[in-house]
Each structure stands twice: as structure tokens, then as C-alpha cells.
Amino acid sequence: MEWASQLCENRGLGSKMTDSKYFTTTKKGEIFELKAELNSDKKEKKKEAVKKVIASMTVGKDVSALFPDVVNCMQTDNLELKKLVYLYLMNYAKSQPDMAIMAVNTFVKDCEDPNPLIRALAVRTMGCIRVDKITEYLCEPLRKCLKDEDPYVRKTAAVCVAKLHDINAQLVEDQGFLDTLKDLISDSNPMVVANAVAALSEIAESHPNSNLLDLNPQTINKLLTALNECTEWGQIFILDCLANYTPRDDRESQSICERVTPRLSHANSAVVLSAVKVLMKFMEMLPKDLDYYGTLLKKLAPPLVTLLSAEPELQYVALRNINLIVQKRPEILKHEMKVFFVKYNDPIYVKLEKLDIMIRLASQANIAQVLAELKEYATEVDVDFVRKAVRAIGRCAIKVEQSAERCVSTLLDLIQTKVNYVVQEAIVVIKDIFRKYPNKYESVIATLCENLDSLDEPEARAAMIWIVGEYAERIDNADELLESFLEGFHDESTQVQLQLLTAIVKLFLKKPTETQELVQQVLSLATQDSDNPDLRDRGYIYWRLLSTDPVAAKEVVLAEKPLISEETDLIEPTLLDELICHIGTLASVYHKPPSAFVEGGRGVQHKRLPARAGSGESAESPDVGQAVSAVSDAPPAVIPSQGDLLGDLLNLDLAPPTSNVPPVPSSMQMGAMDLLGGGLDSLLGGDVGGSPAMGVSLGGAPVGMPAGLGAAPAVGGGLGDLFDLGGGVGVTAGSYIPPKTVWLPAMKAKGLEISGTFARRSGVIHMDLSFTNKAMSVMTDFAIQFNKNSFGLAPAGPLQVLTPLSPNQTVDVSLPLSTTGPVMKMEPLNNLQVAVKNNIDVFYFSCQYPISLLFVEDGKMDRQVFLATWKDIPSENEAQFQIKDCHLNSDAASNKLQGSNIFTVAKRTVDTQDMLYQSVKLTNGIWMLAELRIQTGNPNSTDLELSVKCRAPEVSQYVYQCYELILRN
């Protein structure tokens, strides 16, 4: 104990607890000194030295130079020292891979130690050392530990498989660890089961297509049994895993719910929330008239309320989740308004969330209480909170009509307080109340006008100007009021300028005699002195309207406005459903899908709620979706094994082509076949063999393929190459058509090879297919059918295949498609499952179509509508993408995109950046808005930035893929 007494003297530390001294050593030559101490003969001195090293490491100093010396201390029977050395190893092994090898022997030896704690420690640490060479040595000890007699070692080994998978996924698969891990789900020890479930869930996330977590009623039963026995954390792992399962029917769903509900009484909030997630999800499947459904709803409320007495951070998580639950199932908490009342000492984040939920729960029954509370909050200190409270009063007025009058008078009271931001916020919401209940509360305008001077925020100024303009005829001095704003017109924000322009025009139309001068003034300000295009355009429109036809102007400007709706900031339903599947997790805290904040592909697959029983497609679980999307590389037999899907596909009308379609003159087709080389086949394939409809569309196609290509059959086969080129050039005017790819290889379809692509020509979607017979016998009786898909694609006519197809012959067919078929959401969205039949068998394959196929020709949006829609779509629906290395200027890009029905609505240039605002409409009526930013100043920066906004955000990613595809080709 020499060192200790010395140190105590030096630093005046008397007690035994003096580890803190390690934090204070910052001398020169420290590393050298440490090195000497590490190599000391005295055990205690060694240990002290290692402690110092760890302390330096913690504060961020680089002590990697001591690597060999520290590793030398590893061979010890002192567990504490060993753990410290391991800690050091985990930190620095990556930077010193060669030396880390020195440690392997000790690890391997420790894995054989009689003490299970040591065995587990070794395997746990080894998994944390991310050095390839070490992982090789890890396999054997890990295999042993997975089968260790001691559960403590097994539960550690289970997690270690996940670690190893993170370093080297292939190795884990090759070594068969996944199967061992699956076996551990049946382990007798609940904690081993829980860790195995956690590890498998994690691995499955990075392999969305594997059926790794093979959840079936037997495994579910095992999990439910383990649930009752394992630690609180284990229960969370198991519940989170259960939430990914989709029961086969409502009975199974109910029986799982019954076994999960006891968890709602667990002291750990995370267990409770994960149980809520499972119940919320499985409840979807229960028929609403079932008694149990009602019981379950009742059982959910108390635990959710209890979460609000947890620590503030957990309250926050709970409130964010309750916000979702209230939107999905308002009935659960409708009587619990009081618990969301804000407490004076709540942290601000809890207050804001409670307020949000209060508004959602507000109804006629409780509105009096709510209003009294809100009024109380409006006098608090925190500015954000007060603003939100004032805004909430306005929302109550709009939501509960009976309360509107009380709300307005409350707002007037608040305006009397003269607190600047309260007044401004109140005016903004009063404007909304006016829009909801026109001609009812105009008596308050006088009070509002008194506060005109104190308004300094654009939103409030704009709101006030709107009110003055809208009710100009009742405000005696409306002209003076508006004129006062006009003085600083150019300093106002655009929002205010636009409002002012409109308000003065309204005023003029109502009181033309006195305000002529004013309107002239504002029109000239807007059109001549402003460089804002929106303002200028609006100014010109008014100007022309007023000068040519004042009556029409009156009709337009003073038209009756549509009423605003009750609920404004609801989460879009598909996103809400997805978030319900993520209850308890970060996604539910951010109210964003995981893909919005998680890098890489891990865990970002979309989750969906199961369909209610009896709707016909009940068993469509995420797992099935994954399996189906993998169908192109899995054996085709996957589809028939899928219950309901099987039905859909086998109900196919697989009869030979009906005869009411005029037969194609075979001689012509054969001729074309002979003339054209393979390369051209794929380019022209559809047209040549095409249906009559195709022929017509080719002739008059404004945006389709250049008509010149129609002459192709006359050209010799030698021109194939040239045409490939020509095709490339010609297509710039039309939509881009990707080259054909093999969809169904011959070896999987008894000799039938199908390759194909999709194209949109003259507003008609075509599936261009090439059938090649690689078998020895003749094929006949071709027919085709699609499974339900995201956009309802279906063949518009029967498949026209020249029969019979003799061996080694290829035939090209263009199949027109309609979008009126049955709809079912696929994963990925643009996945299409196809069944093709011939005289030999039925074959299944799946392919993915570019979503640009679905962009319709009338997808150009009006500029104003575009602006309004852009603002209207919540910003969490916005997705950002980058298109790298694209050497296009904005005009070229715009032209290219227009060919695929992506229309440029407006273009703006700021500094060296062109911004294109574009709109797209899908066949199912969904609009997508995009902003494409192109650098013009710097020739080296060739990256384009794309933001896509859509009410169905899951489409955005596919739109981006189309941009990428179109702009690059």
C-alpha cells in the first residue's frame, strides 16, 4: 500500500475512495511513466496503472501507445484487472489489429475457464473487438458457449451472435450460428430466450427478406410463456418482437391479447408501452362488435394514465405516444381529460405535449373546463407555451361550435392584457374563427383594430390586414388603416405584401369612390417596384381584372370562401398507422417513420397494421410482404404457399386468348423478327408485335416514341446498333424506357424465359415482354394475370402471343395495362407479381416497374395551387434526396422530365442555384410536389438536390428513383 499512502500525503486525500485522482494526472511524460508502472512487478501497482490508463481514455486522451503493455496485464486471475484490460482492448483493438491478436490466446483460454462468469466475460468482450482476424478465432469458442451448460454463458453468447453479425454477417451465416440462435428460442431459461429473441430481431432487421424470425403459433406460444418469467428488459424484447407478428385470425389475435394484457400492470413503463403496442396492433383484427374488443379498450386507459405519474422524461415519451393513440382511437381516453391538465412545475416539454392532447380530446362535454384551463395557461411565463395555449383556444372554437362564442370572449380578454405576443397570437386565431363562422363575431373588429400598432410579426400583421380587407365595408376607416401599412410596403415580408394587395383590392371593390388612389398606389408598388414574381403576378392579374371587367373582378375577389376544416394538424393516416406499429420507440417520439432518422437500411422497412378480420385479406403480414418481394430470387413456389394470395392467383382466368381481338398478321411479325437484331427487339419489341391500339397510338403520339421509328421494319438488321443510338436520342423527347431485363429465367420456368420492361406511350401503360422458348418442345396457350398491386395495374386485354412458340424462338409482345384492377399495398410499393401460364405449367415471378409509368399527362399543377399545396403538406412528409454527378442544366433537366410527365410549374433562380418546382400526378390521383435544385455557378458541383413532398410519403422514394433514372438516361 506504499503508493496509496504516498498519494494521500501528496494530495491530502484521506479516504480509501481515491479513484478520482486518476482524472487529475496531466503531466508531461505521463505515457512513459505509465509504461514503467504497467511493467512493474507489483500487482497493485500494475492495477493502479491500468486504472490511470482507463481514466485517460475516458477523457479522450490517446493512450493507444500503451497497447502492448496493457495487453501484457491481461493474464491475471484478478477479475477486476482483467475487466479493465478488456475495456481498454475494446477501445483500441481496431486501431492496433496486429497487436490485438496477442490477446486471442487469453480469450480462448478464458472461454474454457471453469467459472461461468469468466467464460461469459471472455465471449462478451471478444464480440466487441471488431478485428477480422479475431472474429475468426471467435467462432469456435462462441459455438461452445452457445451450448454451454450455464444459462448465464448462453444468454451472453446469444447477444454475441448479433455482435458478430454486425461485423461479418456472412461468417455468421456460414457458421450456422443463426440456426443455433433459433434453437435458443426453445431454451429452458427465460433470459436466454429473451436475448436470443433480441439478437434474432436485430439480425432480421438487416435482412428484411429472410424469414429469420419464423414466427408461427408454436414459437409465439414459447415467447408468451417466457414473457411471464423473464426480466423486465427481456419482456420488452419479447413484446417488441411479438408486435411484428400477424395472427392468422381474430381468435388467435384475441388469445395473444389476453396473455399480453397482464403486462399493463408492470412497474416498468417500457413494458407497458410495448404491451400497448401489441394490443393496439392486434386489436385491428378483432371485430368491433366483440365483447372482448370493448373490454380491451377499457383496459387500455388506466395504464396510459398511470404513465403520466412517471418521471418527466418518461412522461414525455408516453405523451408523444398517447398523442398517436388518441388520433387512432379517440374513444380510449375521451373521459380522461383532467389528467392532461398542465401542472405548474411540469417541464416545458411535458406542458406542450399535454396541451396538444387536450385540444385533441376537447369536445362539447368538457369544453368549459378546457377553456378555463387554457385561459390560465395563457398567463404563464414560457412564451412558446403561452402562444400554443392561445392558439389552442382558437382551435377549440373551430372544433366545438357551441364554444365559439366563449372562446372569442376569452381571446378578447387576453387581448386586453396587452402582452405583445399574446395579442398577436390571438389575432391570428381570430382570423381563423372568422373563416369558420363568417358574419358572426365581427363586433370584435373594433377591439382588434386598437392593437394594430403593436403587431410586429408578419403572421399577425397579415391576419389583421386580411380581417380589415374582408370586412372593409364595416370598418369606417379601413382605407386609413390599410394606407398606414402601405408606407413601409417594401420592408414587409411577402406574406404581408400579398395580403395587403388583396385587402386593398377588396376595399376598392367595396368602396370604389374613395379608394381609387390607394389601389393605384398598391398596384404600382406590387407590379413596378417589386422583384417578387408572386407579388408581381398577382398585381398584374388584379390590374387587368379591374381595368377590363370590374364585375368579373368582384366575382373573383369577393367570392365566397370555403370554410376551413376542424382538424388541422392530424397525422396523415398511413403514417399514423405506421407509427402505431412503432409505439414506444423513437419513431413514435419524433412522429416520423424510422427511415427519416435512421441511416442505412436497418429497421426502416415500413410496418403496417393488420387488416381487420373478415375483410378478405387478413393474413397479409409484413413477413409475407417481405417474402413476396424476394420472390424473384426465391423459388416461385413461395407464392402458392401464401394462403390468400394463392387464391388470388389461382382464380386466374388462364384461358387462351379470346378470339374477339383481331389476329395479328403473322407474316408481318415473322418478317420483323427476321429483320431486327436482338438489340432492336428490345427497343421496338412491343410496337412491332403490338396490338391494334398500339398502332393507333404510335401514329398520333405527341410525346410517345418518335414516329420515325415506326419505319424500323423496313431497315435491315445491320442497322440495329444505329437504332440503339437513335433510340437514345429520340427518347429524350418522350419518356425514358429502361432496357428489358430477365424477369423469369428459363431454368425456373421449365424452359420459358421472360424478359421485359415497362413503357408509357400516349397515356397508355404497356408491359413489353419477350418470351423465349429454351425448352425442347413447343409452347402454346399463353395467358397472363397480375396479383393485386399498389396501383391496381391489370392487363387491359388478353396476352397476344403467337402460338405455338417453337424451341429457340423468341416472340415480343406489348401488353397494354389499365390501372383499374384490384388494389393492395405491396412492399416495395412498385412490386408487381405476375403469373404466366402456358401449356406446361403456371409460373410466377415478380418485377418492379418504374413509378414514372403512372405519371399522367395532366399532371401540371397551377402555380397557386402548387404553393398552397406545398405549404399544406406537413414538413415531416418532405423527403430529401441527392442525385450525384448529373451534368444537366435546368432546361435540359426540365425537358427530360417533362417527357415522363414530370412538369415544371415554376422556376426560380437564386444566386447560382436554379430551383425547379415540379408537379406529378399519379394514376390514382395522388399529387407529388418536388423541388429540384441545380447548381449553375460551379461546373464542378454536379449534384442535384431533390425534395419531394407528398401526402403519401412512402411514394417519395420511388419518385426519386424515377428522377435518377430519367435524368441519367
Partner: protein, 437 residues
């Protein structure tokens, strides 16, 4: 899962940093310091996202604990884990302070290695942890094989919270029913919201693996028994005394499925002190005190405040540690107070008049009046009038909860339920007990 765990002092210096996942780099340590600790503003959210990395943070006195992740983790679990981490540290070395953390950093690393594996929380029951994380540097040879396997089977086992072979000469248990009663009352005396959140804390010193059964005057249980019982009278009398529990949660030792089906609370308790259950009630709460405020503004520079408190429980009982906190405006220049009982003082630093009464019997009332002089200000914003809050302690359960029995069975050892010495105590404390004025 959790990618890393950092502990900082109030200056933002790292005291502990343990990284579990490869996607978390050293720069995350600094990002949190710069963006949250040094931000020097009120925390607007306990979850902060910086450059696609999410930080979950809690603060204990001056110490920040932050869990970091880049994945879509179970957020509730992360916070629960952070609290648990605090509990474990407190159980090992007392208060969480910079000094204690520095003094025990080796122990903390050892704990972090044990209770979090690859970011997955593992058994974190202090009872179990203390059997093998001892800071003694156990030499593996010293433990017998039986001891080792006993440790591992306890850590991973079904009853991870209790070890076998515990022996006491005297079998004894203490039950504390601790309630905090929360109230928000309008100035007119209308109850805006009131609830009791209660805890049943048990200290058990029992030998072997005792099977326990806990009973209280839960309305559902009593009604059920009343229906099944023979005499109507029993049903009537017990019905009056039973209470409606809105919701309750249990320590992980309680068999939840049994509670769900039979509403009976049965368990094998951990050794020593732990929290058996938590509950919440909102009906028929006994509000121990009523606060009647009267605030009058006399001109712009003076406020007159009169507050009456009335105790509302049996005269034979005594409330203790009574404290009434009357907020004063920020521009207060002077205060004169007169009170009939206890001591009252104006505390300028807290912007409040604090009135303390040591003891007060039931069915009594007391009064304080104060004159507050204000400095004239041109601040347009009105004083927010924070509510008057109250603290107290009473020797009964405001929810009306009564412990009916706690039966102990230990089939293997030779002691019976009668041999166990049992103590029950009720304490009602104020939670957030506020009256608006």
C-alpha cells in the same frame, strides 16, 4: 439499441464514456456537450437529435447521463434503463455526484459492462448484481463451483431478484403505505383535479424462499367476496370501506397473470427493501388540507394576501412538516406577515412567503395575512400568479387504502405465517398540492 452511454459533469466534462456500437464515434461525446450542456437554456426535449444521432438525457443533481443511439430504439426502455442505472449507482455508492462517480469509475465501468450488453439491458437488480460485482477483485478460485452456478442461475433465473439460502433468526417484515396526494383547486374551492399516487414499500427479512400474498381493501376484491359471501351485512360494511383503484403496477416479482385473472397479489419478495406496488386512485380522496386564498391588489404598488388553511381529518391525528408557499411578484420590495401559528418568512430569492407549522391536529384552522409592497414597473405583462402550494405529512392514507393481510408461506422451512413479525405504517404526503389564487 443503445449505442453508447456517457456521464458528464455540469461543465460538460466526460466522467464515463462507454461505447457499445460501432456507429457511435467519439465525436458524439462532444456533440452532446456542445448542443445540450453548453446550450445554456432550458431543456426543450429530453430526446435530442443531432446529426441523425439521438441523445436521451436525464439529469441528476449536477450530473448528466446520456444514452446515444442511431437506431430506432425503444425510447421508453432507454429512459427506464437510465433511471435504473441511477438506482444501481445509488445502491452501490450513495448520492450521484461528480466526486462519487470519479471515485467509483472502475466500478461503474464494471457495472456498465454487466447490465448493458451490445446496448441491450441485462439483469439490473441490485440484489443480484451485488453477489458478483463486489469490487473485491474476486479471484475465480475462491468461489466454489456451487457458488458460481448459484450466482449465474440467480442472475438469469426466474427469480432473479432473490438468492437461495437466506437465513434470519427473526423473521420480520415492514410494510409502508406511502401516498402522495395531489390537488389542483380553483380559487373558489372547486377541485379541478385530485389524485393519489401511492406506493407500497416492503422491507422483508424472511428466511428461505417465502411465498407471500398481499391483500388490501380493493373494491373489486371486496365486492367479489361480498357476492360470494353468505351474509349481506358483511358485504355492506366492507363495501363502505373499500376503495376503487384506478390502476396499479407491480414489482417484477409479482405474478401479473395471476393478478389479471384472480386479482390476487402473490409473489416471492426480494430480500431487503423494495417497492412492491404503485397505485393511483381518484375517487373519494380525503384531502387533508383545504387552502382558502384571498389576494387583493391595492393600487399598483400593493398586494394584500390572506390565506386560511383548514385541516380535515380526525382530531386525534397530527399532521407534521406543514409548509405553505405563497408566491410573490418579482417586483416585491417588502413584505409584512402576521400568522397565528408557526413561522412565516419572506424569501426574496424564491419569490415566495414560506409559512411553516411544525404540527397541526385535525379539524383545526389557521390563518396568515401579508402585505406585499411592490416596486412600480412599466412591464406590461401581468404577474402570472403562480398557485399557492402546500407540503405536509399525515399519518394516514388519503386514498383510504387499508392493508388487510400479508400472508407468508415457506413450505420448506419450519416457520409459519404466525411466527413472522409484521409492521404496517401509513404515511400520506403532499405531492403537488396547489390552490390557484
Amino acid at each position: 439499441m443503445i449505442g453508447g452511454l456517457f456521464i458528464y459533469n455540469h461543465k460538460g466534462e466526460v466522467l464515463i464514456s462507454r461505447v457499445y456500437r460501432d456507429d457511435i464515434g467519439r465525436n458524439a461525446v462532444d456533440a452532446f456537450r456542445v448542443n445540450v450542456i453548453h446550450a445554456r437554456q432550458q431543456v426543450r426535449s429530453p430526446v435530442t437529435n443531432i446529426a441523425r444521432t439521438s441523445f436521451f438525457h436525464v439529469k441528476r443533481s449536477n450530473i448528466w447521463l446520456a444514452a446515444v443511439t442511431k437506431q430506432n430504439v425503444n425510447a421508453a426502455m432507454v429512459f427506464e434503463f437510465l433511471y435504473k442505472m441511477c438506482d444501481v449507482m445509488t445502491a452501490y455508492f450513495g448520492k450521484i455526484s461528480e466526486e462519487n462517480i470519479k471515485n467509483n469509475f472502475v466500478l461503474i465501468y464494471e457495472l456498465l459492462d454487466e447490465i448493458l450488453d451490445f446496448g441491450y439491458p441485462q439483469n439490473s437488480e441490485t440484489g443480484a448484481l451485488k453477489t458478483f460485482i463486489t469490487q473485491q477483485g474476486i479471484k475465480s478460485q475462491l468461489q466454489t463451483k456451487e457458488e458460481q452456478s448459484q450466482i449465474t442461475s440467480q442472475v438469469t433465473g426466474q427469480i432473479g431478484w432473490r438468492r437461495e439460502g437466506i437465513k434470519y433468526r427473526r423473521n420480520e417484515l415492514f410494510l409502508d403505505v406511502l401516498e402522495s396526494v395531489n390537488l389542483l383547486m380553483s380559487p373558489q374551492g372547486q377541485v379541478l383535479s385530485a389524485h393519489v399516487s401511492g406506493r407500497v414499500v416492503m422491507k422483508s427479512y424472511l428466511s428461505g424462499m417465502p411465498e407471500c400474498k398481499f391483500g388490501m381493501n380493493d373494491k373489486i376484491v371486496i365486492d367479489k367476496q361480498g357476492k360470494g359471501g353468505t351474509t349481506d351485512e358483511a358485504g355492506k360494511s366492507s363495501g363502505k370501506q373499500s376503495i376503487a383503484i384506478d390502476d396499479c403496477t407491480f414489482h417484477q416479482c409479482v405474478r401479473l397473470s395471476k393478478f389479471d385473472s384472480e386479482r390476487s397479489i402473490s409473489f416471492i419478495p426480494p430480500d431487503g427493501e423494495y417497492e412492491l406496488m404503485r397505485y393511483r386512485t381518484t375517487k373519494d380522496i380525503i384531502l387533508p388540507f383545504r387552502v382558502i386564498p384571498l389576494v387583493r391588489e391595492v393600487g399598483r404598488t400593493k398586494l394584500e394576501v390572506k390565506v386560511v388553511i383548514k385541516s380535515n381529518f380526525k382530531p386525534s391525528l397530527l399532521a407534521q412538516k406543514i409548509e405553505v408557499r405563497i408566491p410573490t411578484p418579482l417586483n416585491t420590495s417588502g413584505v409584512q406577515v402576521i400568522c397565528m401559528k408557526g413561522k412565516a418568512k419572506y424569501k426574496a430569492s424564491e419569490n415566495a412567503i414560506v409559512w411553516k407549522i411544525k404540527r397541526m391536529a385535525g379539524m383545526k384552522e389557521s390563518q396568515i395575512s401579508a402585505e406585499i409592497e411592490l416596486l412600480p414597473t412599466n412591464d406590461k405583462k401581468k404577474w402570472a400568479r403562480p398557485p399557492i402550494s402546500m407540503n405536509f405529512e399525515v399519518p394516514f392514507a388519503p386514498s383510504g387504502l387499508k392493508v388487510r393481510y400479508l400472508k407468508v408461506f415457506e413450505p420448506k422451512l419450519n416457520y409459519s405465517d404466525h411466527d413472522v413479525i409484521k409492521w404496517v405504517r401509513y404515511i400520506g404526503r403532499s405531492g403537488i398540492y396547489e390552490t390557484r389564487c
